[in-house]
């Protein structure tokens, strides 16, 4: 009788054990992450699944090496020995800009920037450098010396705005040259370069069959295939004022880009002035706390999120609804949320 009891108990335990072990994963890929603070004046995060740390490091190192290249090419603030980049395109020699022969990746970026200018009806304008550099300089000075922080004088902003015609950026695709024909104009690719670089890197990885990775370059998120277990990536959209997220999204190959007033700013007389400058007023765009865009292309997402931050809600909504497979979420300064018609299909249930 006792023997029989033990046998039965063993059988039950065995069955329960088998049931549990069936739930265990078969293939073991681990999650790893890496980051860098060296490029694009922001944090680059790489998250990926590989069997070993060495496998992940090899991919992550290559990803960061590619971002390093794009950073050098697209930098408007730094010169690098022996390299013609956007900083040298912006330089004045004897009171004029030179015709500069550049890397094909610079030509491609500037051509894309022209497309984004057309798409956003001129709201995203890489030829606005004269205005944006004033803000950049005053912001830098104001952060270093908060007691004497000041706004750029309106007359200087208005004068700078006279030199923002994108048609004065001449691109010769055959000769691979760029010329700025207005000596007082400057390029600033801040609204497109990060997203564009993320998309180039992501497509390069996809072309080589890499999957199970997600990149984040200062709010430009791009998924490269889902996770090894078939699950999608969960992306939290930051609420800078609360501990909960504005949304949890599920993505497997899309990009999501957020532009927010909390991402970069400085204080003047106790008031925060953020970095997204409206082309018409030359002042920080008002109305939104953040705008997020989901689309297939991170470069387009970057440009659109900046544009939507500057456009009235109705105009932005009309623009997004006119584009297939592009969705957006607007959070106003008083925390009212509006989403485009297909946004909720990406929201985690």
């Amino acid at each position: 009788m006792k023997k029989q009891f033990y046998r039965r108990m063993a059988a039950i335990l065995l069955l329960l054990g088998l049931g549990l072990s069936a739930c265990a994963p078969q293939e073991q890929k681990n999650r790893y992450s890496a980051y860098s603070m060296d490029y694009f004046d922001t944090v680059i995060t790489v998250v990926g699944y590989e069997e070993t740390k060495e496998d992940f490091d090899a991919v992550a190192d290559e990803i960061l090496a590619q971002f390093a290249e794009y950073h050098r090419l697209y930098s408007i603030y730094h010169r690098f020995e022996g390299l013609e980049n956007l900083c040298t395109v912006n330089e004045l020699v004897d009171g004029a800009h030179r015709t500069v022969t550049v890397d094909q990746r610079i030509i491609d970026l500037l051509l894309y920037a022209k497309e984004m200018y057309t798409l956003t009806d001129g709201v995203v304008n890489v030829a606005m450098g004269s205005v944006l550099s004033l803000w950049h300089n005053y912001r830098t000075l104001g952060k270093d010396d908060p007691a004497n922080a000041a706004l750029p004088p309106p007359e200087r902003l208005r004068a700078a705005a006279e030199h923002t015609d994108i048609d004065n950026m001449i691109i010769d695709e055959e000769q691979r040259t760029v010329t700025l024909t207005d000596p007082l104009m400057l390029l600033d690719v801040g609204a497109v370069a990060k997203g564009y670089a993320v998309e180039r890197v992501a497509r390069d990885l996809e072309a080589r069959g890499v999957t199970g990775y997600v990149l984040n370059v200062g709010g430009n998120v791009r998924a490269i295939g889902g996770k090894p277990d078939g699950q999608q990536w969960t992306v939290g959209i930051e609420d800078p004022e609360r501990e909960d997220y504005f949304a949890y999204l599920q993505l497997s190959r899309e990009a999501v880009v957020t532009s927010g007033s909390y991402q970069r700013y400085y204080y003047v007389d106790g008031k925060a002035y953020h970095h997204i400058i409206h082309p018409d007023t030359q002042m920080p765009a008002e109305g939104f706390l953040s705008v997020s865009v989901i689309c297939a292309d991170s470069g387009m997402g970057d440009a659109l999120s900046t544009a939507l931050f500057c456009l009235p809600l109705e105009d932005g909504l009309a623009l997004i609804e006119s584009m297939p497979e592009v969705e957006a979420m607007w959070i106003t300064e008083d925390r009212v949320k509006t989403v485009s018609s297909g946004w909720n299909s990406y929201v985690k249930p």
Binding site: Q4, M9, K143, E243, T258, S292
Partner: protein
Amino acid sequence: MKERNGISKVHLRNDVVMIILLLVLAGAGALYLFAFRGSGDTVNVTVDGELYGVYALSEPRVEEIRTGEDGSRLNRLVIRDGKAYVESASCPDGICAAHRPVFRRGESIVCLPHRVVITVVTEQRADSPDIVA
């Protein structure tokens, strides 16, 4: 004892009791694990990519993260109620000090000027994002 198909009613009842008992035990075990799962949760602090310190989220503390050659760069990390935040910082940005408390896996606070990254390291939970935009 009446036997049917080789299994007596008493045996059948004992088996049911046994299964229930095992399930209750398993449930208690799971509850125990769930209740104490948080104790391994930490925030990892890196400076310039190098690990600076690992602090348990369960232990309230104030940590002065001093960086720079003369240690003059300061980010005051506070851990309280299982959450981490930067109370004050000597950086020009102030973005780290304005950041809300972090506590879910993968959430981080970054001080670019001081090259400080504070990242939550925990088990994945239902509300843990993979990445934050």
